[in-house]
Subunit: 685 residues, 2 copies
């Protein structure tokens, strides 16, 4: 039902936006600025384009201007050669430079005016200029007379001060160059925090000089040196992005125990392989805190951000239950249960973090009245816990609803607002003061199923809509506009060096050997990975984190653009009484391609060990194409399709709905709509 509502909205929007488009160009800005006033005319971007900084400027601003020019040149293909002394096309002014360490509340506002004679970005801080330059890049479009930015006045500032993305580098190691291009992508959509999930059961990824065995034994030799980390943090800082380190404790910490088993609550021995989240630190030994004192002191120096994330999630307590000494400790200290023991651990940890002049951040399980109110709570379990934290006076971040690894469509993430107004679990009951404690949110890219090769495609372009949710006014929520702008920004992100589209071709080519991949693309374009965490189940045993991620599920987009467009098309066609011939022709074209695809693709699938599992998927797609075309034939002849035929087709559709190779065909529902329409059945919208 949700999907259909969204689609209706889409169609209405297309009609509305068409009227607007007559006078003014559509802007492809994402996130949408707080205020946009479009004028008429445009500023030409040509070879003589020049930018000047007026007033003071620091190295950060100069670097940003240079990167801006490079990217504008890449986007337009124009090698700029401004004439000395000519009037600049863009003036840039910041009242204040970048802070040496970016602050949570550092001013990010800017004003950007484009006139046909020139453009101007002014901001209280260099950080605001960074944001404004990104907006300018998104304004530039090709027109019949060349590249140009439309005349516009933009006044912009973020809705939330904390707009982050978590990248897990433990389950699969993600090298610095991949992180850097993602930083570029985050900067393009004005995100400002990279939450670096640096340790987990499967790997410890940061060099520690104090405790070298953390990486020597716990990283499979895949980790960042301290030099690399410093250089990376500087890279992010220049782009207006804070780097928040997370060391997950006391759970999700198996990788620590290979080098330092004395930290653990169980007997070991530990290996990086194998599943489960049972291994936990032992919070009852003083030696644990001595270790953490030293370790956190070292990391607090390495990571300049004033915040420090200690994890704190999913402590299953099995090792505590099984350890008599720990149970004794719980009793001896008058605690009721494991939760109390974790709260005790968190309090001890918070003191260490605070001693190093950092503010502690943790997942929502850490919420406990004994913790000081400075602590920030990151909610992954729901908006209710975010509201609960705010009610207790804690600042909070929302990640529930922003898990990119759940493979949701962009629209579903887009609908999640940190200030949910539902009374059952949201912020509706909060006082304005309590609401101000909700700092923003973070998307999360957990790394069970990504490699350096496909991580971009799991993050982008969907992450851009989460960035918009956190930056733009709450009222910006038109889904059709979002998809149009998301697709535009997706192209721009590729030109920045992200590989969310281009890597797919390489991956499909690998599966296909040296064969042409056109037919394989047709199939890949209409499937989506199984959603949520259903890819794996207990019956399959623990996840093998070293197995190749080279199946079709690993290459396809989490959301099928083709399926979305086809669904919209069919929806509109059926709602209009099946009369639109142009639409029907388009629908036929899709269906014909699908019907004929299996004949082309089947031999290729059979030849490839990776693709063999996709044989039924391809057959189902062809069957759907056939069913849809027959339905259209009935419609064209003005006949009501007979029941026996419909029964047959519904069997085809039911078959096509089944999970195959951990994927779903996403064009099943619209074909069903056609079949039902041909059988004279009422449409349920």
């Amino acid at each position: 039902m949700k999907t259909l509502q969204v689609m209706t909205g889409l169609i209405l929007f297309f009609l509305a936006s068409f009227v607007v488009a007559q006078s003014q160009p559509q802007l492809n800005l994402m996130p949408m600025p707080a205020s946009v006033q479009q004028g008429t005319g445009q500023l030409a971007i040509n070879q003589s384009f020049a930018i000047v900084v007026t007033g003071g400027h620091d190295a950060a601003l100069d670097g940003a201007v240079q990167r801006f020019v490079d990217q504008l040149s890449r986007q337009t293909g124009i090698p700029f050669r401004p004439k000395p002394g000519a009037a600049p096309a863009l003036q840039v002014h910041a009242d204040q430079g970048l802070q040496p360490v970016q602050k949570l509340d550092e001013d990010e506002s800017y004003e950007l005016t484009v006139a046909d004679s020139g453009a101007k970005i002014t901001a209280p801080t260099t950080l605001g200029v960074l944001r404004g330059l990104q907006t300018f890049l998104q304004l530039v479009q090709i027109t019949p007379t060349g590249f140009a930015a439309p005349v516009v006045t933009i006044k912009d500032q973020p809705r939330f001060p904390w707009r982050g993305m978590l990248i897990d580098v433990s389950r699969h190691f993600i090298p610095i160059d991949v992180l850097k291009r993602n930083i570029d992508g985050m900067a393009a959509v004005k995100m400002n925090v990279l939450h670096w999930h640096l340790s987990d059961d499967q790997g410890f990824r940061v060099e520690s000089k104090k405790f070298p065995k953390l990486t020597e034994m716990g990283s499979d030799n895949m980790f960042y040196t301290q030099d690399q980390i410093r250089e990376f943090i500087a890279y992010a800082h220049e782009r207006g992005i804070r780097v928040l380190p997370e060391f997950d404790m006391p759970g999700h910490s198996r990788s620590w125990f290979l080098g330092y088993p004395e930290l653990s609550s169980g007997a070991g021995p530990y290996t990086l392989e194998g599943g489960g989240i049972d291994p936990i630190m032992d919070p009852t030994r003083e030696s644990t805190y001595k270790f953490l004192e030293k370790f956190i002191a070292e990391m607090a120096k390495l990571f300049p951000d004033p915040y420090f994330h200690i994890g704190g999630d999913e402590v299953d307590g099995k090792q505590w239950d099984a350890n008599p000494k720990i149970q004794e400790f719980i009793k001896a200290h008058g605690m009721k249960n494991n939760q109390d023991l974790q709260a005790y651990f968190n309090q001890r940890l918070e003191k260490i973090v605070a001693k190093n002049h950092k503010t502690m951040v943790g997942w929502d399980e850490i919420l406990h009245p004994d913790l000081p109110k400075t602590v920030i709570v990151q909610s992954w379990r729901g908006q209710a816990s975010l509201a609960a934290a705010a009610k207790q006076g804690y600042r909070g971040l929302l990640s529930y609803g922003y898990y990119l690894d759940l493979m949701w469509p962009a629209a579903r993430h887009y609908a999640v607002d940190p200030m949910s107004m539902t009374t059952t679990d949201g912020a509706a009951d909060l006082t304005p003061q309590e609401r101000s404690l909700i700092l923003g949110g973070e998307s999360c890219q957990w790394a069970e199923w990504v490699t350096p090769e496909n991580i971009d495609s799991h993050i982008w372009p969907r992450n851009a809509v989460i960035a918009e949710r956190l930056w733009s006014p709450q009222e910006v929520k038109d889904v059709a506009s979002m998809y149009r702008r998301m697709n535009a920004v997706s192209y721009q992100l590729e030109s920045l060096g992200l590989t969310h589209n281009s890597a797919r071709a390489h991956m499909l080519q690998r599966m296909a050997g040296n064969s042409d991949i056109s037919a394989l693309r047709v199939l890949a374009d209409v499937v989506e990975p199984v959603k949520e965490y259903n890819r794996w189940d207990d019956a399959k045993g623990p996840i093998d984190f070293h197995s190749p991620l080279t199946r079709m599920i690993d290459a396809v987009s989490p959301e099928s653009d083709t399926a979305r467009r086809f669904s919209e098309l069919v929806q509109s066609f059926v709602q209009g009484g099946c009369k639109d011939r142009a639409a029907e022709e388009q629908i036929r074209s899709y269906l014909t391609t699908w019907r004929d695809n299996d004949a082309k693709l089947h031999p290729l699938l059979e030849q490839s060990s990776i693709l063999q599992e996709d044989v039924p998927l391809s057959q189902n797609l062809s069957a759907l194409g056939e069913a849809g075309l027959e339905a259209l034939d009935y419609i064209d002849r003005g006949q009501t399709a007979p029941d026996s035929w419909k029964t047959q087709q519904m069997a085809v559709i039911d078959q096509a709905k089944t999970r195959q190779a951990d994927m779903f065909l996403m064009v099943t529902a619209p074909v069903q709509q056609l079949v039902e329409a041909s059988a004279g059945q009422a449409q349920h919208n």
Copy 2:
């Protein structure tokens, strides 16, 4: 006529190779090894794949093995985790390590055996192992049971010891990272010389500590530092590739004169802009030789290769004619003309080069009996001058026929052999001893029309067939086999990091703004750039080397794969008497796509300043589609198409043959074939 012969060959080959394919997998090796014996069975490549080096090994070999494993992992997507102590899948042995400076005659032979239990590469030198590892990478294919290398015994060595590619970095600067990925490509196809064309009229690209104004004033600030050059040479050396520097003298040297006008024969002043090749060095002043003494001494140290290229081409002599002092010098020294003056310059130059322990290489204009026989002559003007040089006892290299910037189809380059057997201009008359003086050849990528963005697509995959011509036995010349293998290696080259295919998507997207580029691709896939040097003519004035290279001509492939396939299909259909229904369906599918494409594409073309020039091209393609479909309709009905219809269609075809936006539609000829077939006209094959 040439094209049609090639096509007939293709079809015959397909039939033949189909029979072979029943028993043994087709190998996608390029260059084809000297000897290949296929067996049955295969060696599985899986997660436990391990490689060991037996006997001695140096750092070069260890590095090569690591890169091999990385590339195999990238190709297959398998993260290798060999079990300690398990039998290795691949054993590698070299009798001798890499020479510190690669020699022209360094042994590159190797033997590679693959059995189902394991594989082995043995070679007299590490260089041979490098070549063998590349062959192994090309052997690995996906099969129904996983990735595998087929059982095979290969004994291989190159036909010529000098297999190079020239990259001009003067007309457009090409950064080191782009050169490095091209080095990777060259290594994959066993080329062994990068000829680095470092200076020309439009830019001087090497830092000189002795003469800093060369780059300060002559490079637009785009040049390589000496550190970068050293690092790059080491990179190439590790991959078995020599780096031959070229400083073009006395012509093509305008860029030198911005900083050092006293070297020139004219008055100046000089700028990098503007065309013409008139500015030449003044060979009559001793100060010129003093400069070159110092300069060459510096460069001879920077570039370790024993050869040193001094250019020597296209000295138009206008500045010499116009300079009375120079004319006086010619007379005073008893010379007859400018050619004699250049010969005098070359002799002086050769002595300087020799004093620095280098052997001089130059373009074929340098050929003159006064030069010592050690000099190597590189022929760009024809095979005759190569043979002439050999007859006079000079060693030679062929570049005529290997100019990648001429936009020839791969088959045309492939047909050019350094040992041409035509009696008019080739090596047919040479004695065996004279023949041995022909060292090989070099492809040339001149940089008038390339940028870092599109240079890969101008080089690859066509360069691979030149590499094969220079490595493989002379008898390896089946064109159909070449195209099949070229396409396979093209995929592999992309997985190495080359962007000859992927960059096209970015470029088309730029032209299309934020629109879908499917229809644009349909058009781009069937056009080719105008050939030879016809893109520019004098009427257009001098080339503006700073204009954007972002038009469709800059993005499309020099050779249309789609057009080649379609031509083959039509050729086969018509030759078979227009009876093959399956072929006809395929032809119809192409034609229908083209016919319908302009309606989709036209609005996009109109919206983009870059694409507007392509409007007629798109219209012509649709008209061709329509014409071809009508022809098929006549054929289907068993009718002979009427003359009036045919006249109309021929007008359409003539229109479609015209040059549009500096490109040609490459599917015009096969559509004409269909029209003629439908009109009952005899086919000319």
